[in-house]
Homo-oligomer: 439 residues x 2
């Protein structure tokens, strides 16, 4: 097994590269990060491969023709750092405090990628690799993986595997090990209300015309009943009931953590059921006019729906389109964003989930891992299923509280050793679990 201090140094090197995929000025850093990953995987033939956008890194380690093959997925790109004044130490100057490594991307997804790299290196060095391993580390996860579908489609042969093991997708809580078995889908759209041909003075023209702000509010208000249920007919039509396992969840502690006077949402479901198993329609932005006396020419809402298994983004979009009726005096249009993603799930009895649970028990003193769900979206897992026809096991060692996408992102350094131990155990277990039945 690789020594922990070495993997910490490796992670610090990786975090120091400001590989922000969404910043055109960082193209050089993106290339440096891809080259760095390929160099780490030199023992596995690591190489940078061009795509229509940022490059991917591919590699493979061969164990035997009879052994199953896994495809390890992760990403080397990171979110923008946001306002650097909000960081206690600069985002691309890795800094260790309280056994945590701080820096943009430390948790999402560089720490977990280092776990995967170091696991492979250890097996390679000890000559004991139990299964074939392919690597696909992409550089566009934080911008929606626009090149990934085309790349998967064009490289099916090189990427054939029995399972994807993803280093992305954080553990739920730091206090107990967990395995995600579902993630919600995503449908994003803009609702645009158009009124007069230019902004009007609300004193001179108020009362004679429909105000786009009023029309937008009326439409947005029609999306939910007062109790928080989505009021769009057909929205819940394909939603299958889900029985959650017995998961400890303290609603009052959660309420305090997020700082609301009370939790709110669909009656008849616990907060955890609403978070994990119920689709949502959230208005992320309202925008119209300004702090002046205008009737604005336009008002808009940005809306995202999180979908659950069996919901088709197209059918949900159609339900919303049928529901939205333009009030008198304005025109309304819906602009669906491209790239809607259905929900992803893997059976709680899938051999990979069972192997993951066993690996976690081995590392965490027999503690039974929780089978959890993710309110966010994992487009890559959906693409692997749709294009490569293979399920994805989410086996990340970051934790959801590590300030992903926020200032002062960090990674718990203990997770490096725990992760490498768990990944090593997982690969040994998968070698048996994924093997074809004896003939």
């Amino acid at each position: 097994m690789a020594a922990i201090p070495s993997s910490e140094r490796t992670l610090a090197e990786f975090v120091a590269i400001s590989s922000i995929s969404g910043d055109p000025a960082r193209r050089g850093d993106m290339r440096r990060a891809a080259a760095w990953v390929a160099e780490q995987l030199a023992f596995a033939g690591g190489r940078v491969v061009e795509t229509s956008g940022h490059p991917v890194v591919l590699a493979e380690l061969h164990a035997s023709a009879d052994a199953p093959t896994i495809l390890v997925y992760g990403h080397y790109d990171v979110q923008p750092s946001g306002d650097e004044a909000e960081w206690e130490t600069p985002p691309f100057t890795p800094s260790v405090r309280d056994a945590r490594l701080y820096g943009r991307g430390a948790s999402d997804d560089k720490g977990p990628v280092v776990v995967a790299l170091e696991t492979a290196r250890a097996f390679h060095e000890s000559g004991s690799l139990p299964l074939n391993v392919r690597f696909l580390i992409e550089g566009e996860e934080e911008i929606g993986s626009p090149s990934l579908p085309g790349f998967l489609d064009g490289h099916r042969d090189e990427l054939t595997a029995d399972l994807v093991v993803s280093a992305d997708g954080a553990m739920w809580r730091a206090s107990e090990p967990s395995i995600p078995v579902a993630a919600k889908g995503l449908l994003a759209l803009d609702l645009v209300v158009e009124g007069p041909s230019s902004d009007l003075h609300s004193g001179r023209h108020g009362g004679a015309v429909q105000n786009p702000n009023h029309a937008l509010a009326a439409i947005v208000a029609s999306f939910h009943t007062g109790d928080g249920t989505v009021a769009v007919p057909g929205f819940y039509e394909d939603v299958a009931p889900v029985e959650l396992e017995d998961i400890p969840f303290d609603e009052e502690a959660y309420r305090k953590e997020i700082g609301v006077p009370e939790l709110h949402g669909e009656p008849g479901y616990s907060a955890l059921e609403r978070l994990w198993t119920r689709p949502t329609l959230e208005v992320n932005e309202l925008r119209g006019g300004g702090a002046f006396t205008v009737i604005p020419k336009e008002a808009r809402a940005h809306i995202t729906c999180r979908l659950v298994p069996d919901q088709d983004p197209e059918r949900v979009l159609s339900a919303i389109e049928r529901h939205v009726v333009a009030p008198p005096g304005v025109a309304v249009r819906i602009e669906a964003h491209p790239g809607a993603v259905p929900a992803y799930s893997i059976g709680v009895d899938h051999p990979a989930v069972r192997a993951a649970a066993q690996a976690l028990r081995a590392v965490y003193a027999g503690e039974e891992p929780l089978l959890v769900r993710i309110g966010g979206t994992l487009p890559a897992a959906v693409l692997f299923e749709q294009i490569l026809g293979v399920k994805t096991l989410l086996f990340s060692f970051s934790t959801a509280d590590e300030n992903l996408h926020a200032p002062n992102e960090f990674f718990r350094l203990a997770r490096l050793g725990e992760g490498i131990a768990a990944w090593s155990e997982l690969w040994r277990l998968l070698a048996r679990a994924l093997a074809p039945p004896a003939g």
Copy 2:
């Protein structure tokens, strides 16, 4: 009568001074503009007088102790120029095209002020002044006249008059002369909805909490019924019915001008009745969140109500406060802006209105002037009534279509000569109309 070319030059000089009261960097230009006005009124003892904000210019011309006294009101400050790229010629480089003088403030209110100045100069030079005239030209109209109440209160003796004649308050249309007999009041407030203590990821937290955008939309939607009637109980309580004179108004031409698919508002009233005689509640701004997947911590609306005679801003505010109920899971507060203004009106049979109509008939070939109403607000007229106890006649020669508060503001140069002729006739008529009845 002063020669027209001279008054054009005078106006160009005035417009060239960038007296933007809302721009702290223009304090020097504000002082230059005040000094320029005082210099124009040197023959009447014009002087710059300090206030708690920008200075005012005072002057007076004495005709006789028996004659009535008018107080001429106008303002030397202007709106900010906005995006200079939208101006065909620079805002503070006066430019004549098509018999119009273009420049910020040309119409609001420098053109009309020059009409008043030139009228006074002509009477002074001819030695035929028919009544006593005082001048009050302020420098804070475009920022809500914050110093005016205190100034009026502290200078009652110097400002005593039988009538205010305002050079501010534009004519309705260029096609016929008009006299405003009412202006709406103004109540401005912000509606603030507060949810979680920080922005939340709408994937991770959606469904468990009230989204402030949803709560704001529900409240805003509750302000109007679908037909455009204000649905706040008590909002219309003190509104007296108004019979409009027979005013030609082409609703279809108006609809096309402002570019809406159809006009919209309270059933049972014509568009002109709604514009002129009905109070309104308009949401000028909706703002919450951003184009990301957040549940924002806060969402806000900026709202202005335009009030009609007999409505008390405080009572309307109370009605709104009673109506707004916080949805579950959020806190809601209403922040009323200071300086609410009730509506202003002058009787259609007031001697000053009759004199104004006669003066306009004399200049415009006998055409009967329209008695019109203003959807905007005239705080100064309200203050003159409240503090000095005197009515205001609005007798401006700018026109509402002259891009006030917008790029490419202009003033029709023909209005200089027409205005000076009409003001001269008005003063002669007021000398008789305002005289105390013979004993």
